[in-house]
């Protein structure tokens, strides 16, 4: 009969209306600034620089190789290489960025910088509340704003960070083994040098 469907519809909406007050499960809205959803592992928006330890300068993994700067499609990264060198995580002296700027108003969150970085130095952040009253300077992040600790990285991307840490530890172990082997070899050579100088240096026979 005419009107039946409307009555059914009215009953349905009334059920939803009352249900939303009775049953909290129905209200799926997350009231954002007070409540938030737990961050997703795969979430990403803008890159940041990882440093090890507690000192953002000493622990910064970036060696200012400028690959990311060259690869960045919207060219939002600006790097200036340092004049001097500082030891990296294995202790090898490396350059470091004197200036490392990312303009996040230009960044398109493509993650290419992360893909190309050979030093696991740049990673994607999940921080998204970055609005600012100054749309130029406020959105241009410098080295100090970008540098975030490895602990932070482990917190936002636990699985990925564990993989990276394992990889870096393996590298470091290999480097240490190599260094030790080198040192051993050097020591051996040195020892050989010190123990067998006469043999190594044959005295010229007086043959006249």
């Amino acid at each position: 009969m005419l009107g039946e469907g409307i009555i059914k519809g009215l009953a349905e909406t009334a059920r939803n209306f009352v249900g939303s007050y009775v049953d909290k499960e129905r209200l799926v809205t997350v009231q954002y600034p007070e409540e938030r959803l737990p961050a997703k592992e795969a979430a990403r928006n803008f890159p940041f620089l990882v440093f090890d330890g507690h000192d953002p300068h000493a622990g910064l993994r970036c060696v200012a190789c400028q690959i990311c700067e060259k690869e960045c499609p919207p060219q939002c990264i600006y790097i200036e290489k340092s004049m001097d060198k500082k030891p990296d995580y294995v202790g090898k002296p490396q350059f470091y960025p004197k200036i490392f700027d990312i303009d996040i108003s230009v960044c398109m969150s493509c993650q290419i910088c992360v893909e190309v970085c050979p030093f696991e130095a740049i990673k994607m952040d999940t921080e998204f509340e970055l609005s600012h009253t100054d749309r130029f300077a406020g959105l241009l992040f410098d080295k100090h704003q970008l540098a975030k600790s490895n602990e932070y990285y482990q917190k936002i991307h636990p699985n990925e960070a564990a993989e990276v840490d394992g990889h870096l530890a393996a590298e470091k172990a290999k480097a240490e083994v190599k260094a030790k082997a080198d040192a051993d070899a050097k020591a051996r050579i040195a020892a050989a040098k010190t123990t067998t100088p006469p043999a190594a240096k044959p005295t010229p026979a007086p043959t006249s």
Binding site: L2, S20, V28, T29
Partner: protein, 400 residues
């Protein structure tokens, strides 16, 4: 004491008029002023609150929260979002008023005013309580429909002067819809006028202000009254451009209809007029069918009469919101078919039923005959309107 509370607004007005420093010549003006200003304030406030309540209720229907943020400024007091309409009002007031270059500036400017004035005029004949009709006109109902019909002019002014095809389409839809639904609206009202024998809104309410036992003599409790009330309500929804009859502003096809080129406060005026029109026509529905300011049960008559009027008004507004949250928008041909092929015949049959009711002796037979007279055509017309089609779950031939 109860009487004094019931008549508090009337007494207050007389008290204010009795101040000695008013010159005698100004008193009629002042009396009018004292009637108009409270109506404007109360209904403008009701409009604001209704916008928030509507958004909240529709949100709840869709299992959302709706607006719950805006409260008192500079504090954390949120008032469940009921500060929203004040913020909206301030925003509308401070927004830029844009007039299209090709628009007819004068008509474009006059359209919202030509809408809001008749809408407010319609309030002048509604009895808000005992002795609380601003004007007790002998032709109150006629006056109401006369000014109600004047709003169509403003709709077309807005649509025509904007020089926008969507605007014009919206206006033409609005006119077609309003004229089509005005016919069943007025014909369903005629039954009440026939029964009461007067066009005065005050007399119509007084005719319903009797009780047999506890039950009131409201018109809605008769077969012709119930049918008339439902027809009136549907036509009122269409008249006030409420969903499911909101084709004139159908967002999905013509953006915003006839007020697409309006911004800022002019747009707010259109919005206000739309809601005020809805309140006014609900007020008339209450007056005609729901006993105006009379209490629903005899022992509740001690509550002030204006309280009952506003309680009924809020109930009808809630019904309008509920329907809006339920029914999708009609198509233009469905709208017209419904008006001319269902509403109009039903309204005409209703007149005959009301006439029969008047002449038959009171009793069960009268109920049975009049109800049958309305239910049989309802079922038959409904079947005809659906065209013998059976609406089932839609099946797709290819996409399975």
């Amino acid at each position: 004491m109860i009487d004094a509370f019931d008549q508090i607004f009337v007494l207050l007005k007389h008290w204010a008029l009795g101040w000695p420093f008013w010159p005698e010549s100004l008193k009629p003006m002042l009396s009018v002023f004292l009637s108009i200003v409270p109506i404007m304030l109360v209904f403008a406030l009701l409009f604001g609150i209704t916008t928030v309540v509507e958004r909240k209720a529709i949100g709840r229907i869709q299992n959302r929260y709706g607006p719950n943020r805006v409260g008192l400024p500079f504090t954390d007091v949120r008032l469940f979002g009921f500060g929203q309409f004040i913020a909206d009002g301030i925003k509308a007031l401070t927004k830029e008023d844009i007039v299209p270059r090709a628009a007819d500036r004068v008509v474009h400017f006059l359209a919202p005013i030509a809408l809001i004035v008749p809408v407010f005029l319609a309030y002048s004949v509604l009895p808000y309580g005992k002795n609380m009709a601003p004007i007790d006109m002998d032709t109150g109902v006629l006056f109401f429909f006369a000014v109600g019909a004047a709003t169509e002019l403003s709709v077309f002014m807005a649509g025509w002067s904007s020089r926008n095809k969507y605007s014009l389409l919206g206006a033409m839809r609005a006119i077609a819809q309003m004229i089509s639904y005005e016919v069943p609206l007025i014909i369903s009202t005629i039954t009440v006028v026939m029964m009461v024998g007067s066009l005065s809104t005050v007399k119509i309410v007084e005719a319903q202000a009797e009780y047999s036992g506890q039950l009131p003599h409201w018109h809605v409790f008769t077969p012709w009254g119930l049918a008339g009330f439902i027809l009136f309500l549907i036509a009122a929804m269409a008249e006030s451009n409420r969903s499911p009859f909101d084709l004139p502003e159908g967002e999905s096809e013509i953006v915003a209809g006839y007020f697409i080129e309006y911004s800022g406060f002019k747009f707010a005026l259109f919005f206000l007029a739309e809601y005020l029109g809805m309140f006014a026509i609900s007020g008339l529905a209450i007056t005609l069918f729901l006993g105006g300011w009379t209490a629903p049960l005899a022992f509740l008559s001690w509550l002030p009469s204006w309280l009952w009027f506003f309680a009924k008004l809020l109930a009808l507004i809630s019904l309008f919101i509920w329907v809006r949250g339920t029914v999708p928008r009609l198509r233009m041909d469905q709208l017209m078919n419904f008006a001319w092929k269902f509403m109009l015949p039903m309204a005409l049959i209703n007149i005959a039923a009301a006439g029969l009711w008047f002449f038959l002796p009171a009793g069960f037979d009268r109920w049975a005959v009049c109800s049958a007279m309305l239910i049989v055509p309802y079922v038959l017309l409904g079947r005809g309107l659906m065209g013998g089609k059976l609406f089932t779950k839609r099946t797709y031939r290819y996409a399975e």
